[in-house]
């Protein structure tokens, strides 16, 4: 079981802003790492865009699960994990991180922040510690109030899109993805298999 990324966003109108992110791409080969990282950012951002305020959701894509929590104050967090990782722990992590973040970073910095300007350094440590869910989060600490029926489950990324919207267009227009990653996606798409990484 594995965690791949943990990111914090501000769900602004209209744009979603990446505030801080941590990645663990150590299971990918050397030359894939940067593309994988970019795709994870792209996916996380897209999910936050398409999720309503005050909601939780899990989006399945091949063997990965993206868990998102968008708070009512527009602060949002996404964790990307494999399908084995317990989603309950993932949401606990998100809750904890967003809570801590909102205490450490002024609200006024959220709409205009970026990873370079935001002073919040605990993300990497959290990602690393939560690789082992049992150690990081013994059952007693799990939030009892977490009502799992309220978590929306999406079986694919496509279900987040609006009618007529194409993932391909979003990929090409993305500012987050470098040319290499876009090329990866384009050719993988041609082969009729879903998005290469996500």
């Amino acid at each position: 079981m594995k965690l791949y990324s943990l990111s914090v966003f501000y769900k602004g109108e209209p744009k979603v802003v990446l505030l801080k992110a941590a990645y663990d791409v150590s299971s990918f080969s050397f030359f894939q790492r940067s593309s994988v990282q970019e795709f994870m950012t792209f996916t996380s951002q897209l999910i936050v865009e398409r999720s309503a305020k005050g909601s939780r959701a899990s989006v399945k894509e091949q063997e990965y699960l993206c868990h998102v929590y968008v708070r009512n104050d527009s602060l949002a967090g996404v964790v990307i994990a494999d399908s084995e990782y317990p989603s309950r722990v993932a949401f606990t992590l998100l809750e904890k991180v967003l809570d801590e973040f909102s205490k450490q970073v002024d609200r006024i910095d959220w709409p205009v922040g970026s990873p370079a300007t935001i002073q919040y350094t605990a993300l990497d440590a959290h990602l690393s510690r939560y690789q082992n869910p049992r150690e990081a989060d013994p059952m007693t600490k799990v939030q009892a109030e977490l009502d799992e029926t309220k978590i929306i489950l999406h079986n694919t990324m496509e279900s987040l899109l609006e009618r007529g919207e194409k993932l391909d267009d979003l990929v090409s227009k993305s500012e987050v993805l470098g040319t290499q990653s876009k090329a990866f996606y384009k050719t993988a798409r041609k082969q009729n298999s879903c998005c290469a990484i996500m």
Binding site: S26, F30, F31, N192, S193
Partner: protein, 639 residues
């Protein structure tokens, strides 16, 4: 010496051989056919040096250069105080230590130190100090950086190394747990060899590479290294006289750097041409093939002893005319040609016998023959052609044995079936038999053959099989005895691979009517090809060849349009993808980072055959056959 345009097509084998001979001649250019005896000397090498020399110079050729004794550096060597020693080693710590020890022990009369790749300043000082301490400074006659750190196997094919090849293997480059520093070391090792290659070739290439891969990293570093060397006015290795003076090729060669990951099907493919087959099914490397032969049942008083296996090794060299002619031929053609050679040899042998018997000299030795005056001319020519005949017989025996060994594998494993089926898969033609049938067939192929077939299918298919189908295949494979770990890795690879536009159709591989084969069978050939399909290869381009074609001929193609462009000779490092040179290239070097094989090589050879005046060299970081490659995939698939 004026060399025509064809000769300008540099044979890397020739160039490296010339460089070696010059080194063995005390670093003075070696002139052939010079009168007088060569100076006798001792050659000391390490395993790297041995691997470089052995495909290029035979023991006889070494002796012709005056090498009376050749020894490994790290062996017990007695002092030979009146003989000069030529060293050819890598500049490693252990080697330097041993050389210093040799100096202190006063082993030889004089020392010619040659380093396969450039030695660092500090290590050079270590040697100088040791020489001083041993009062042997005057005996160290010459110290050279040879820049020969690569192995040439054919006129137009080279490999980076044989020793330590795990350090730069496909696995080493693609394993997930590699750190930045480790990757730097791997890349630097590859670049060092490539640099040596271009120094020996005497040319500074234009470099093209794909983005985001190991090939790109190699390109960036190689460009930097070449650039730095060119600008070093004092020590540049690319000055006029090394740049192949007399060459009429004004254009610089193209270096295409590709990553193994653009095509994983070809290294797994079953093949049908002679050299590639030998590499695939027999124990073949550095141009030497090792066979195990059963010598037949032995008779003894105690009853028939079981067959004993004797080992035989053959060197497949440039002077082997049969090999040179047929190494790229489809196997049935090879079998037929061996048969033809045998018949022609027997005819010549009969002719000699006939002449001998005419003279009533059946069974007598040549001494008696030469004393006769009548018909001496006839006999002399028959007798003098005996060495040629003997050589011919040697080659016929060699290839009969090798081809027979190959044929045994083909028949036992039904390799023709695999070859044909895979060609269909890779060219996206409709399949007449179900994949599952072949996998479940107990008579066709080893578990590894089946795994190879399935992996090729998985790699080439447009639609990844559904979970249910995949489970079915996996079960069939496991029942057939396969280990599924390579599949794990390939699944992951497929998810990320830059799968460029599908490989161009190979065209259909049809079984030709039996005409060709029946002739072989009817003449009582030892090659009983019964039941083996006479498959004809239709020339189509493999992915690497396709990429080369686009870049060499300046064709626009989405696959290669965004390849990076480097010209080390240009003053400012230009990162534009737009090539400044608009003309097609005459010469190209294709280098696969991550490993290559003879199938790819042969495909390039066939591609360039039709193009007058064009020339390609093929190189790879390591050479593996399917068995070795699957092993690496398996290791990568284990988590």
């Amino acid at each position: 010496m004026v060399r025509g345009k064809m000769a300008a097509a540099a044979s890397i084998r020739e160039r490296q051989t010339v460089a070696l001979k010059r080194m063995l001649n005390f670093n003075v250019p070696h002139v052939k056919n010079s009168t007088g005896e060569p100076v006798w000397k001792v050659l000391i090498y390490d395993r790297f040096g041995q691997d470089i020399i052995s495909p290029l110079l035979s023991v006889k050729e070494l002796r012709d250069m005056g090498i009376t004794l050749h020894l490994l550096l790290h062996s017990d060597r007695d002092p030979i105080p009146d003989v000069p020693a030529v060293y050819f080693v890598m500049p490693t710590e252990e080697n330097i230590d041993r050389m210093c020890q040799d100096l202190r022990n006063q082993l030889y009369e004089s020392y010619y130190l040659n380093f396969i790749s450039a030695i660092s300043r500090s290590k050079l000082e270590d040697i100088a100090n040791a020489a001083l301490a041993a009062s042997a400074v005057t005996q160290v006659a010459k110290v050279f950086d040879q820049y020969l750190n690569f192995i040439t196997l054919e006129d137009d094919m080279f490999v980076l190394c044989n020793q330590n090849k795990e350090l730069i293997s496909y696995r080493a480059i693609n394993r997930p747990d590699i750190t930045d520093t480790e990757m730097e070391t791997v890349m630097d090792t590859i670049v060092d060899s490539l640099f040596c290659f271009f120094v020996t070739l005497g040319a500074v290439p234009i470099i093209r590479c794909s983005r985001g891969t190991a090939a790109e990293m190699v390109a960036v570093k190689l460009d930097k290294k070449l650039r730095e060397n060119l600008r070093d006015a004092r020590n540049s290795l690319f000055t006029g006289d090394t740049l192949g003076a007399g060459q009429f090729s004004f254009q610089r060669p193209l270096l295409v750097l590709v990553d193994r990951n653009i095509d994983l099907a070809t290294p797994l493919h079953h093949t049908w041409t002679y050299q590639a087959l030998v590499h695939d099914v027999l124990d073949f490397h550095l141009n030497r093939v090792n066979l195990e032969e059963s010598s037949g049942v032995e008779n003894s008083p105690a009853g028939a002893r079981p067959k004993r296996k004797s080992k035989k090794s053959y060197d497949l060299t440039p002077v082997d005319k049969f090999w040179q002619k047929h190494k790229g031929s489809p196997f049935p053609e090879v079998a037929e040609s061996v048969q033809q050679e045998l018949e022609s040899y027997r005819a010549q042998e009969d002719e000699v016998k006939r002449l001998k018997s005419i003279m009533g000299l059946e069974g007598e030795d040549e001494g008696a023959i030469s004393m006769l005056s009548d018909n001496t001319a006839k006999l002399t020519s028959a007798v003098s052609s005996l060495p040629e005949l003997l050589e011919k017989k040697r080659l016929i025996d060699l290839h009969t044995n090798v081809a027979t060994a190959v044929l045994e594998h083909i028949k036992a494993r039904k390799l023709d079936v695999y070859f044909e089926y895979e060609e269909k898969i890779m060219s996206k033609t409709t399949l007449d038999k179900s994949l599952l049938d072949i996998i479940s067939d107990p008579d066709a192929g080893t578990p590894e053959d089946k795994m190879r077939l399935f992996l090729i299918y998985y790699i080439s298919t447009q639609q990844v099989p559904s979970e249910a189908d995949l489970e079915q295949y996996k079960k069939a494979l496991t029942d057939a005895g396969c280990n599924l770990t390579p599949l794990q890795y390939i699944k992951q690879w497929k998810a990320f691979a830059k799968m460029a536009s599908a490989p161009t159709s190979y065209g259909s591989t049809t079984a030709k009517p039996m005409g060709l084969l029946s002739r072989v069978m009817n003449t009582g050939s030892q090659f009983v090809m019964e039941g083996v399909k006479n498959l004809v290869l239709k020339q189509q381009n493999l992915p690497v060849t396709r990429i080369l074609d686009n870049l060499m001929e300046m064709k626009s193609n989405p696959e290669t349009d965004d390849y990076r462009y480097f010209d080390p000779k240009m003053l400012r490092g230009n990162d534009s993808s737009v090539p400044r040179n608009k003309n097609p290239f005459q010469e190209a070097i294709v280098f696969v980072v991550g490993g290559g094989n003879y199938i790819e090589y042969q495909n390039l050879v066939d591609y360039i055959k039709g193009k007058q005046g064009k020339h390609i060299l093929y190189g790879c970081s390591e050479l593996f056959n399917a068995t070795q490659f699957i092993k690496q995939l398996s290791q990568l698939g284990q988590k």
